[in-house]
């Protein structure tokens, strides 16, 4: 099993008014960067880099970074810059980018160059992940939403070719043209860094990932619909003549650990505070229905089971009435779907389940090692992922909150989870080749369990 840690690196500004559950509402595109404090930004970027180093020291196999634009909930607008620094200041951990927003790159060769550079500086520790992005990314970098999916696919094909074929060659596609592709940097890993595809709701993307036999990582979605979405991956895999195993499945979920249950309960609540990602369970911000309904960005009739859950639907601009019609059982169980949102076309409401509900449904796991470990086991047994990421140190959590949790994860949680993974035979994509389903020889047998 590959075990990593993730944080969105939120822009935590205690003076902003949106910090805290009762603060001012955060909606996409509603906040001017006129209030951005670069001193604070400097502190936070350095704090998060320190925490990534501490993540390695705690014994994690990977640190995971993500990319969003023009929003306080994630400071990873230039995630490759962070990754490049980590390539130099860490030694062992895999640097997982989940992921670069392919369709917003007008020049994907530049991205191919940056990633190859990171892979070389880190001596082969880059795991590259690619996403289509939310509406925010398309707006921020002015990428045409109707061509989002086409550009994603073409940029992927192009970058893989730029990494693997000897240049120079010419590329004349539907969206990208190059007269001379011959980048003077090539990935350290051969044929190229592993590609991982993260997602939340798009069925197209899962299908595409399964067709390419890339590991698919579900981002903090609820267990049952997540399981159903992985079933869809397995179904596509069988249609393509192979059996998907744990090596094809990844899952990101919120885990925080403290010495006492009382403290864990209090600090875990901070997941819900601050500028959280409105797409993922645990935020009290609201999505702009405009951003989620950008013309042609996603086919809303082609969603995964996770897309039926109230809050995801709301963040995607779908109204709860329709969700209830589409999927009555899910809506009935979804406490967050109440009260009814305004009529079609109105602002999307914050439809997050409350904290206690999230603790019950495994959306947030916060406790002492003793109480957290069985819950992690439940997640592993339910989903059978070969790659997991603990999402921690987010929302309103301080550096101290992060460090206490990291310490306990290193001393108590990680060893237990590794044992569990052995017992459940959950192999990562670094132990079993996702293309061939054959075991990958491990360089050092001693660290095999670690990835």
């Amino acid at each position: 099993m590959l075990i990593g840690r993730f944080t969105e690196r939120p822009y935590q500004d205690p003076a902003s008014g949106y910090f805290g559950a009762t603060g001012r509402s955060i909606q996409d595109l509603s906040i001017s960067n006129g209030e951005y404090d670069s001193q604070l930004g400097a502190d936070l970027y350095n704090r998060y880099l320190d925490e990534q180093v501490a993540t390695e020291e705690a014994g994690f196999d990977a640190v995971m970074l993500n990319e969003h634009h023009s929003t306080p909930f994630c400071m990873g607008g230039t995630v490759n810059t962070e990754a490049a620094i980590l390539a130099r200041i860490t030694e062992k951990v895999k640097i997982v980018l989940n992921g670069n927003v392919l369709p917003i790159w007008d020049d994907p060769l530049w991205l191919a160059e940056e990633l190859a550079t990171i892979d070389m500086i880190s001596r082969g520790r880059l795991v590259t992940g690619w996403v289509r992005g939310t509406g925010r990314e398309s707006i921020a970098h002015n990428a045409q939403p109707p061509f989002n999916w086409e550009r994603f696919q073409e940029a992927h094909d192009f970058i893989v070719k730029a990494w693997t074929d000897d240049g120079p060659f010419r590329w004349e596609g539907e969206h990208y043209d190059y007269r001379y592709v011959n980048p003077w940097m090539r990935p350290y890993q051969k044929p190229h860094p592993q590609i991982m595809i993260p997602g939340v709701v798009s069925k197209n993307t899962v299908k595409w990932a399964a067709e390419h036999r890339y590991p698919y990582l579900m981002l903090s979605t609820r267990l049952e619909p997540t399981k159903a979405s992985f079933d869809y991956y397995r179904e596509v895999a069988r249609e393509n003549g192979y059996e998907a195993g744990s090596q094809h499945i990844g899952y990101l979920f919120k885990v925080h650990v403290e010495e006492t249950e009382e403290l864990a309960y209090e600090v875990g609540k901070k997941f819900l505070d601050g500028p959280g990602n409105i797409f993922l369970e645990g935020s009290r911000g609201t999505a702009s229905p405009v951003l989620q309904n950008l013309p042609g960005l996603t086919d809303r009739k082609n969603l995964l089971p996770t897309g039926q859950v109230g809050f995801v639907a709301a963040s995607r601009g779908r109204d709860a009435d329709q969700v209830a019609k589409d999927n009555p059982d899910e809506a009935k169980d979804d406490k967050a779907a109440e009260p009814a949102p305004p009529a079609r076309g109105g602002p999307a409401p914050a439809m997050q389940a409350d904290y206690d509900t999230q603790l019950e449904n495994y959306t947030i796991i916060s406790g002492t090692p003793d109480s957290v470990i069985p819950k992690i086991r439940h997640v592993l047994e339910t989903l059978r992922p070969g790659t997991i990421f603990f999402w921690d140190g987010d929302g309103a959590m301080t550096h101290e909150d992060s460090m206490r949790s990291l310490k306990l994860m290193g001393s108590d949680v990680l060893p237990a989870v590794r044992e569990m993974a052995e017992e459940l035979e959950l192999k990562s994509s670094f132990e079993v080749d996702t293309q061939t389903n054959e075991p990958i020889p491990q360089l050092e047998e001693a660290s095999a369990a670690g990835g």
Binding site: Q144, P146, F147, L294, P295, G296, G345
Partner: protein
Amino acid sequence: MPEDAVGIVRWKGGELTVTTATAIATQRRVIPVADLDLHLREGGDGAPVVILHRSIGTLGWDALEEKLAAQFRVITPDLPGFGESERPDWAREPRDIALLVSRMLERLDLTDVTLVGLGFGGFVAAELATANEERLKSLVLVGAAGLKPREGEIVDQMLIEHAAYVRQGFSDEARFEARFGSELHPDIKDIWEFSRIMTARVSWSPYMFSRRLPHLLCEVKTPTLVVWGDDDRIIPKDSGLQYAERIPNARLEVVPNAGHLVEWDAPEELAQLIAAQATV
């Protein structure tokens, strides 16, 4: 929605709403152009008046068409990629749409056409005139997109909720409700959402104007009437002034108590202006 509000809309293979009692018999036709089936509706007899719809698509045969059809042969195409007309996947700018419409006029063998363009349709009509005006008798640009205003900005429909965008097109927002009722018919919302996909394919960036069009307008010979709602809150009137300045034989007519959606705010006045222009 009010019974008499909306005309005949054909959508997803069926007649969506048949409301306005159309005295004029209309028929639908399919015209193949460049391997695409382009749909149009026509009605009335007389000199041809071709109306190009907005970026929000068409809601069908409406008050403006009905009034004009008493005097003219009125032709309302679903622009390529809108309504029932096939989408040219390759189209990247309004000029591509204009070239297809130009070929459609040829296929219909129309001459002495009065070409009316509403909003985005006006952008297409202006592009068409710069490319080929042989079949045109006159041009009417109503709140036309296509030119970057020297002051102010064109309201970006991609950044606001779509019904709110349409609402802003009326001079008096109460007219939006009078027309569409307090709750928007889901099929109309669907039409708007669908239309905007094509809009985003051909006019995402720059949004609703061309940097090349202004340099070609001085070659347009067709007599042109530029119509602007006095209360247009979508496209600054300056764009209209520029059209009137750059097209040699053009004049600007400002319609009082009308917003961007002149054909819905003041259909009678607009029909009269078009009729006068078409019979000069």
